[in-house]
C-alpha cells in the first residue's frame, strides 16, 4: 500500500508520519502516534468513543482519513490534563462516578468539552443533545449528564 506523508499538530505537538493511504485518523493516532486515548468502538461512526477535535471541531476520528488532516490541529482527551492537573470535566467525571468500564469516557469528555466551549452554561437538554452520539453501556447516562452539568457550574463559578 502506498504511504502518504502527513504533518499535523497532535495535542499541541508537531508530528510527522508516513501513513497508509486510506488509514483512518483514529488508527494513525493510536497505532502510529502512540496516543491510545481515543477508542475504536464501532469503526463506523455510531458509538462516539473515537471523538476528537480537529481544528476545534468535534469529529469522529474513525470516519476521517488521516491523509486529509495535513496541517490540522488535532486534540484528543490526552490534551486536557497537564502535569497531572485534571481538566474540570475530568474531575467532574471522577467525582460523579461517571465511568465504569471507561471505554466511552474519552469520547464523552471530548463531546462535553465541545459543548462547554460553545455553550458554557448548558441546560440538561443541551447536554443530552451533545452526548447523543456517544454510547455508554455501563452508567445509564445519568451520572455522565450530572458530571457535565457539574463541570459547567464549576466553570461558571471560576469565571465569575
Amino acid at each position: 500500500m502506498p504511504k502518504v506523508p502527513i504533518q499535523l499538530v497532535l495535542n499541541g505537538e508537531e508530528r510527522a508520519e508516513f501513513v497508509d493511504s486510506g488509514a483512518t485518523l483514529l488508527k494513525v493516532i493510536r497505532d502510529k502516534l502512540g496516543d491510545t486515548s481515543p477508542k475504536g468502538g464501532c469503526h463506523q461512526g455510531t458509538c462516539g468513543a473515537c471523538s476528537v477535535e480537529i481544528d476545534g471541531e468535534l469529529k469522529l476520528s474513525c470516519l476521517v482519513l488521516a491523509e486529509t488532516c495535513g496541517g490540522a490541529d488535532v486534540s484528543t482527551v490526552s490534551s486536557l490534563s497537564s502535569d497531572g492537573v485534571l481538566h474540570p470535566l475530568q474531575r467532574a467525571f471522577m467525582e460523579n462516578f461517571a465511568a465504569q468500564c471507561g471505554f466511552c469516557t474519552p469520547g464523552m469528555i471530548m463531546a462535553a468539552k465541545s459543548l462547554l466551549d460553545r455553550i458554557p452554561d448548558p441546560t440538561r437538554d443541551d447536554v443530552i443533545e451533545a452526548i447523543s452520539g456517544n454510547i455508554c453501556r455501563c452508567t445509564g447516562y445519568e451520572p455522565i449528564i450530572q458530571a457535565i452539568l457539574t463541570a459547567a457550574r464549576a466553570n461558571s463559578l471560576t469565571a465569575a
Partner: protein, 337 residues
C-alpha cells in the same frame, strides 16, 4: 387513540453465583519487602470495580490502607484458578478467597512482628495506620514496613497466604428433587410507571423505582453506580435490545449500532434507587452479588405496567411497538396480519 397509563410491580430473588459442578475461586496474597500487599487473581475486572473491592477486602483483613494493596488480575498463567466474573459471583466468591488468603498472610506478619517485639503473636494487633502494636500497650510497636523487611532479610519468613472459596456442588434429593443451587440470594423490587401510545405502540417508561437488598454495600458509591446503570439496562432489555427480533428466523437481526437499539441519554426514565443492607452470613464482610440482579426486576415490572395500561399480556421481549400493536389488534378481535 390515546396515551394510556399503567403501573407495574415485580419482585425477584437472585442467586449469587452458580452451582453446576461446584463454584470455586482462589486467591494468593503476599507482601512486598516493604509491606505492600499483592493480591494475585486470575479473575477479571469488567469495569464494575472488582479490583477496588478486592483491594478493600484485603486491606480490611490485613489491617493496612487500601492504597497499600496491589491487585493483579486477569492472567490465568500467573493467577490461581477462578471460575470467572459472571453470575454475580465476583465479590462474594473471590472476596471470600481473598479474606482467607489475607488472614493467613496477616498471621505470618504478626508472627514476625512478635519475634521482633519479643511478645506473643496473639497479643498483637494492627493500628490501621501501618503499624503493629501490643494490645493495650501501643507504645510497643513495629511498622508493617519494617516487619516486611525483617521477614524477608532477617527472619526468612514469607508473609503470604492462600485463599480458596468453594461452594460445593449440591445434588438434588432423590425423593423431592429439592436442591440448594445457591447459598446466598440478593433481592429486588421495582415499581414502573409507563405511558403506552395505543396508536403508535410506543412505550415510555416515565418512572422506575427500585429497591435492592444486596447484603452489605462494600463500596456504596460503586454499588449505586452499578444499580443505576443496571436499571437502565433492564429497561433497555425490556423495550429495545435484541439481535433476533423474529427468532427463530434470522432475518432483520441487528448487525451494528445503527440497528441494535438502546435507550440514549434522551430516553431516560426518572430513576430512583434504594439500597437495603442485610449482611449475608457467608458473604465477605456480608456482601452479596448485585451484578446481574440489578438489571432484572425492571423487565417484569414494565411488562406488568404495560398490561395495566392496555390490558394485554406481552410475553416476548423486547416489547416493541410492533408487538404492542399486534396485541392490541388481537385484543380487539381483529385477525393478526
Amino acid at each position: 387513540m390515546a396515551i394510556r397509563h399503567g403501573r407495574g410491580v415485580a419482585a425477584i430473588n437472585y442467586p449469587t453465583g452458580m452451582n453446576l459442578g461446584g463454584d470455586p475461586s482462589q486467591a494468593l496474597v503476599h507482601s512486598t519487602p516493604t509491606g505492600n500487599f499483592m493480591v494475585t487473581l486470575s479473575s477479571v475486572d469488567l469495569g464494575q470495580g472488582l479490583k477496588q473491592i478486592m483491594a478493600q477486602i484485603c486491606a480490611e483483613t490485613i489491617g493496612v490502607s487500601t492504597e497499600q494493596v496491589i491487585v493483579d488480575t486477569a492472567d490465568t498463567d500467573t493467577g490461581p484458578h477462578c471460575m470467572g466474573t459472571f453470575a454475580s459471583r465476583g465479590t462474594h466468591r473471590i472476596g471470600n478467597a481473598v479474606i482467607q488468603a489475607a488472614n493467613e498472610a496477616r498471621q505470618v506478619m504478626l508472627e514476625v512482628a512478635a519475634e521482633a517485639l519479643e511478645v506473643d503473636a496473639s497479643d498483637l494487633d494492627t493500628d490501621g495506620k501501618g503499624n503493629i502494636q501490643v494490645k493495650g500497650a501501643p507504645q510497643k510497636s513495629v511498622s508493617i514496613f519494617d516487619t516486611a523487611l525483617m521477614a524477608h532479610f532477617k527472619y526468612g519468613r514469607s508473609i503470604s497466604g492462600r485463599g480458596m472459596f468453594l461452594v460445593p456442588r449440591s445434588f438434588p434429593e432423590t425423593e423431592t428433587g429439592a436442591m440448594k443451587p445457591s447459598t446466598c440470594y440478593a433481592h429486588a423490587c421495582t415499581v414502573a410507571d409507563v405511558e403506552v401510545d395505543d396508536e403508535t405502540g410506543e412505550v415510555t417508561v416515565t418512572s422506575v423505582k427500585n429497591v435492592f437488598e444486596i447484603g452489605r454495600a462494600l463500596n456504596p458509591k460503586m454499588v449505586e453506580q452499578q444499580l443505576v446503570g443496571g436499571s437502565w439496562m433492564g429497561i433497555s432489555h425490556t423495550l429495545y435490545e435484541t439481535t433476533e427480533p423474529y427468532y427463530p428466523a434470522r432475518e432483520h437481526g441487528a448487525t451494528d449500532f445503527n440497528q441494535y437499539l438502546m435507550p440514549g441519554p434522551g430516553d431516560l426514565a426518572d430513576t430512583e434507587i434504594v439500597v437495603l443492607e442485610r449482611p449475608a452470613a457467608d458473604g465477605p464482610y456480608g456482601a452479596k452479588g448485585p451484578g446481574e440482579m440489578c438489571a432484572n426486576p425492571q423487565i417484569p415490572a414494565v411488562a406488568n405496567a404495560i398490561f395495566d395500561a392496555i390490558g394485554v399480556r406481552i410475553d416476548t421481549l423486547p416489547i416493541t411497538p410492533e408487538r404492542i400493536l399486534r396485541a392490541l389488534k388481537a385484543q380487539a378481535g381483529e385477525a393478526p396480519r
